[in-house]
Subunit: 219 residues, 4 copies
């Protein structure tokens, strides 16, 4: 019966369009950062698109707050991830879980096991965090004096080494802005990686236990 | 009925003033370390404040030992964290748990879930450890020959890379004192990060399980 | 009764020969990469062996798909690890679990405990990932301008520092191909290490609990 | 009744003397490695002491094998840690668990909780692994061309950065021997650290849960 509330109906209808909008947002941001020789008109278009999409996300947030009937601060706390992705729309695809549920719902297929879903979600989130983090740090570092991050390929390699906590240090951010974004990436990446490794470990234990049970002793 | 013992009443009355005193201690230490051009009189004031606050913390510790009625060594062992923060007052805000409980108690608000509280506590502790560790290492490294840590911003960036175990190595302590503090930070940071990632992983599994249950199959 | 299905009988008969074939594949690859002064004829032989073995693995995969009676995409998803090792035959020995089960089955020996088996499997997989990863990255890096990985010993040392997430950064890949392989190694290594440490932690807790129980109080 | 077997009695009588012998072994090794200006006679004495102690450990191992009544390979497998510390006597103090149990046994004191004991054991093992590893790597690196590890202090700092998986890379082993020992340290350190962080995380969750229960709601 919870599925018939106005909030749930709003969520079911808007989830997929908003997900596509968030991919467009990332695309516009990536084009703006990576294509340095872009004509000024296209640059304006990218920036305008990002602003329009951000207003759309903010409007969706306000509608949801209204439909939920909660006070503002309480809504912000109980919908913590939602609040974060309105402020940092680059991370909006992290809301992929309800989307995935929605798609599964329609197809009626057997769902993945709990551990496999946590692994899939955390892996996708790590990829997204790495890609958008590499973009954002590259934007800060480009042209900075003494920068070791000279191309977007370097930025992706740096992001991989950072999120896996390997941290070679052959490429590191040198600007204050780049380091601040990197610190947020470290915090988020560590939590997500912990979720991946923890779930993988549980999953492996489960596979090994079930294998023991399956194989009966020979008589 | 435990709440009516003299020990519990002492704790309830002194927790918040002592927490504020510990913030003042950190503030005085930060001012002493960071403001190198401070007039000699202000330097003396900072040092005097720190000494006075430390005596206050020691007095509180002795009063608690007396109220608990335990022998000294036994009290030191059963109140391990308390003993640590008397020796290293910079870490005193780690005792934020009872404070948080006290505040929640008064407001009567619904409490966060267990995992959320562990994550919040461990995250705050990591931030505090990073900030005070950066201050202490910076104090050791400043002016050392061959130092790569040239500003407090460098020290904070180094602390973030160390506590997340990324360890780029672009900035590293070179003095014996700095390396000793860094080793303590590594040990503490690893334990806290393990608590954050472990709890986050359990929490995510819990969210995913409850989501599976909530959504009934369509008929 | 599952053991009498055509699929299970095929698996029991082919597991050991295919495992030996995968070791031969790795041997041929290692010889091709490491022996730079190899005569052209031997080089051709190595490459031919690898191609023939890969065709063998692909044929085995198709036979299994047929015996399972599943559609292609479904088989690829339910036999995920199998699909991966057909595409990347260097990782084929990861299928060592069924082999180990088969050997244990014949000898009828008492099996290791669950945790010990997960630790053994994840450790062996980490070793294999490190060795084949070092080979593959070394092949990419050899002779690249500015490369710091000058010998296969360097590559093995780099692989150890990467899979343990220590990441000194004294030796790092500089080519795009080497960095791509390194990123895959980081992801796989983190998951495996999480499994090792998680299982070891549970195992230690189990040993300590059983030790407490074993020792009765003196009367 | 297990405590009255010849094996258990042998263990109870020899545990403490053998632990002291292992500390002497580490002391002799440390003196031999660190005191480069030691007279030749003292060097011989250190080496002779180490050889004699190693023979003592080997004899103890053989006696235990005899008392257990097991075949050699089976004994080596069921007493895995024991077999390791006979081959690498520097790690012998890892057998501190039975010693600790023995001491607790005599004093009859209340024992630490399970998690606290795992944390204490894994922390002590990490310290021991770090100290002996730093000694062994320093012995390999001293005087090697291009070495960055110039003093034993550098070796200890390197060991701390390695065992915590921070891995700055300001100091790294360059000899094959040093790198081989470092790889073993990484593997051992990761397993132990996983045990520390996992137990600490469980312990923190336990403290927080019990705190919730203790504080009754106000009426």
């Amino acid at each position: 019966m919870d599925d018939d509330s106005p909030y749930a109906r709003w969520e079911q209808r808007t989830e997929i369009p908003l997900f596509l909008a968030s991919l467009l947002f990332i695309g516009a941001y990536a084009a703006r950062v990576l294509d340095v020789s872009m004509a000024s008109g296209w640059q304006r278009l990218c920036e305008f698109t990002m602003l329009a999409l951000w207003l759309l996300f903010a409007a969706d947030y306000l509608v949801r707050r209204h439909l939920s009937g909660q006070r503002f601060l309480r809504f912000a706390r109980t919908h913590f991830l939602h609040t974060v992705v309105v402020i940092l729309p680059l991370l909006r695809p992290l809301r992929i879980v309800p989307l995935y549920d929605a798609i599964q719902h329609r197809q009626g297929e057997p769902r993945l096991s709990l551990h496999a879903r946590v692994i899939a979600y955390a892996s996708l989130s790590t990829l997204l965090l790495g890609f958008t983090g590499a973009l954002a740090v590259y934007q800060q570092e480009r042209g900075a004096p003494g920068a070791t991050m000279l191309s977007f390929g370097d930025a992706v390699w740096w992001a991989a080494a950072t999120l896996s906590t390997v941290g070679y240090g052959d490429i590191t951010p040198v600007t204050t802005g780049g380091r601040a974004i990197a610190t947020v990436m470290m915090a988020g990446g560590l939590a997500l990686l912990g979720a991946v490794t923890g779930s993988f470990s549980s999953w492996l234990l489960q596979i090994f236990s079930s294998e023991s049970d399956r194989r009966p002793p020979e008589s």
